[in-house]
Symmetry: D2
Subunit: 134 residues, 4 copies
């Protein structure tokens, strides 16, 4: 795996509206990927807070890249369920989105995502997802 | 409450990227609102399937409008947690997003969202949310 | 389907500790079952409040019966994920546990559960579950 | 904090049916507690698999102890929402239940629980919870 392959998955497999998040692949490890969600007025409500909708979308998207990283290639899959908790606001800073494959079986994969502030390092959103592998 | 007030909450309280969903308030009832999520290439992956990220964002957004409808005015609130299940794809048709307030207490509100195809009427996504009332 | 078949599934397929909930099948419909969770000191914390653990266990158990009702027979399945929201306490009264199959596909089934007070009829717990059909 | 204090919280604050899980406090750290869920026929379905209901109940219970550990004393709280994912069966072995406080604010606390096999160390259940602090 390499960063360019993961980065190029974004325009290949995702809707234009998701691409507008402008996610940047920062790094990857055995079972995880790390993406940057750049702060932007487009994603913010008044006060510079990144909207929760953008964080959920970033989390779900990052998890697909974590599965590509895990399998070594894109495998068709569909999100079955996603649960997101919002711990505190993400304000006036980029988010770092870490998606980790917890378990990948034959037909189901489980993952967890943590989003933290790029500046202060504090967790702002935690999510867990279930994917069906097609 | 009236449809115009609910519709105008979208540009007032939501990030531009969420406004790009182009949600349209169709109707409201005692404890629920119904929004249309127009089908669009911007929100679709190959094959005309609406991306899950757009459905989660529409669900969360619709719930805020359901709370405005419930309280008769906008009250500051924040999403604490959201759980979404994806039952089947939403393909080549608008979505109808129905958000319902299940319970609103002093500090917490609970809601549920159903998204179904505008053409075939089939449920494609069901979500439950917890909001903190500030 | 008949009530006796559903009731007899409880000692057949569930652990003794789950049977100790003493769930009673009250009725069933096309895609749902209704069970009674009798109030008991064994399930209660101080103040007569039914513990959340018992409500989650009742919800999960009721859903298995709803699937038996849906398929007309027991099919091996496993809970993949369950999300529970606790709206208000259930105090000094039985609970009525309604489990509904929302969608049953080839490999996954989705269901929703509502628990309300048998006396006052108020919703106290809402849950959604995903099952893998084996 | 000490193990005896945490252990004695079980008969003090939990329903007899929850006490029947026979949870044993093994250790605690800054923001987490580790409990043992002893394997038992009472909690098992045929084949020696621990039922999911017991794992959810153990997870929720462990989190209350993690909050006692975090605050240094019992604070009245109520579970608002809990999401559980079941990764694989827990068969013929004890479970180790690790509950961690992710964030505790003024009115809400967030936690995550991992249950793994005491023998093989593999994760079988992951849960996230939201508590309201009263």
């Amino acid at each position: 795996m390499d960063i360019l392959t993961l980065q190029s998955a974004l325009p290949t497999y995702f809707a234009p509206w998701v691409q507008a998040l402008d996610l940047q692949v920062e790094s990857f490890a055995a079972d995880s990927v790390l993406l940057r969600l750049p702060h932007s007025d487009q994603l913010s409500r008044t006060g510079g807070m990144v909207c929760g909708q953008a964080m959920m979308a970033a989390a779900d998207t990052a998890m697909v890249l974590a599965l590509i990283n895990h399998f070594g290639e894109f495998r068709p899959c569909t999100t079955v369920q996603m649960n997101s908790s919002f711990l505190k606001p993400l304000s006036k800073q980029d988010g770092l989105v870490e998606a980790r494959v917890i378990r990948a079986g034959k037909s189901l994969a489980f993952g967890e995502i943590d989003i933290r502030g790029a500046h202060d390092g504090k967790s702002v959103c935690r999510a867990s997802v279930t994917y069906a592998l097609l």
